[in-house]
Symmetry: C2
Subunit: 251 residues, 2 copies
DNA sequence: TTTTATTTGTCCGTATGTATA
DNA sequence: GTATACATACGGACAAATAAA
């Protein structure tokens, strides 16, 4: 193929971008090509030396560009195989009204929640504090697995006061949605009051459940939802597959 | 030492927690001990076999508990040496008024910004879109390094319209703060309009600048700030050291 | 510098209770 | 009811990295 037209390589363009690092120009061009759909999700990019020939740059310059795209999660390099276009991250809006099913559904995807385990046990201290519960009280703990279009998106651990939601596990298992579970208890509306985000590396258990390679980055999200009157309802610790999700906070 | 008192091991407690997985009980106890300050930041926990003896459980059970704490970033295991308490993450509030200097200063730490590179160049397409700039216009790109108490917190790439902020680099270098830089242009107030968060692994360059081990998780934050009238002012792509930072969104 | 002890990481195995098919 | 799979808990052995003698 005459890649010239597909990738719109340097030539005339480059003189215009005088002063911009070469690797950055290459990265921008490749990112545009991916954004335009020239390379679809899962497609293999041309080999590094081919890209280098196309842009008349050294292969190391291409590698620097690909590294930048890789850090942004646009591509993934597989040694001995090639460099592949990653699926675009699913935008996951977070605000006062954060609901998994609605968020995923809004992107035209099929949301799926599944209860993988549950238990009734004393609340861990941090959770008790966040739910404003007495120290020794009981909580229902739900281990949830969430999908979008059959692709695992996150695993989550949710705690609810056992007194108010005694059989939350059964209800969730039947309803397969937090919103519908709460509706079953007469709670027609609730809102996100606190969201804390950091990142870590997936442990083997989460990696397996999220279908990730061990050591993949995950987004750790600690959140609290409350009734409209401010009463804390549930605390959740979610682990999102970072390579598939982008949290969006609109102010 | 008679660790019994320090760690408050099983015994009577455990019968109460009937039905809760043993490793989870151990993890909760250790987390509490850390929260209480029994083990300070940087302190070495007792060896796995000591903890196992203390709680009368198998070493594997202790390892399962430590793995859970490790995923939450509370501890870090070093083979041949021991398991150490990690520093608590610096809470970094994000909202309509997000300012690095204020955020860091609010925690009683000394905020530091440093310009490590700058350039005037055509805006990359995604940035042009986010700043509502014409396709071929020029932008000032600032590469920033941000510290809290001399500890590197994040590296950031900021784009500003070159027309409105022609010598932004010089101003920032002198003011060492985005807020003061904008004030220099007569902008007394601005607000965060969009924040997108995901995670990735640090590349070698960022790892070196953030003083992280290569492969450490980083938080990727894409943000846009605008004037009070809604005019986009700057777009930023920040890379936070995830092990030192927790983004806090209050609704 | 070499040796030795300590500590975490990984692997083998066994057994039990609990869901699920 | 039976068989299967899974999570949990325990026991042992050795490798690999570290730290101290």
């Amino acid at each position: 193929m005459s890649g010239s037209k597909i990738l719109e390589p340097a030539g005339a363009e480059r003189s215009q971008d005088a002063g911009v690092a070469l690797w950055r120009q290459v990265a921008d061009q490749l990112a545009q090509a991916i954004a335009r759909g020239t390379f679809e999700t899962g497609a293999r990019l041309p080999a590094e030396k081919e890209i280098a020939a196309l842009y008349r740059v050294n292969r190391h310059t291409v590698r620097r560009a690909l590294a930048a795209l890789s850090e942004r999660g646009l591509v993934r390099a597989a040694r001995g195989s090639g460099t592949y276009v990653e699926a675009p991250r699913l935008a996951y809006p977070i605000g006062t009204r954060t609901r998994f099913s609605e968020n995923v559904g809004a992107s035209g995807r099929q949301a799926g929640g599944r209860l993988i385990a549950s238990a009734e046990e004393p609340v861990p201290p941090e959770i008790a504090q966040r739910l404003a519960l007495p120290r020794k009280s009981l909580a229902v703990r739900l281990e949830l697995m969430r999908h979008a279009d059959r692709v695992p998106v996150c695993v989550a651990t949710t705690w609810l006061p056992a007194g108010r939601f005694p059989d939350a596990a059964e209800i969730y298992a039947a309803q397969r949605s937090t919103t519908r579970m709460l509706a079953h208890y007469g709670i027609s509306d609730y809102r996100r009051v606190s969201t804390r985000v950091t990142a870590a590396l997936a442990d083997i258990a989460d990696a397996a459940r999220l279908d990730l390679r061990p050591g993949s980055p995950i987004l750790l999200v600690d959140s609290v939802d409350a009734a409209v009157d401010g009463t804390p309802l549930l605390a959740t610790r979610s682990r999102f597959a970072a390579e598939r999700i982008e949290l969006v906070f609109e102010s």
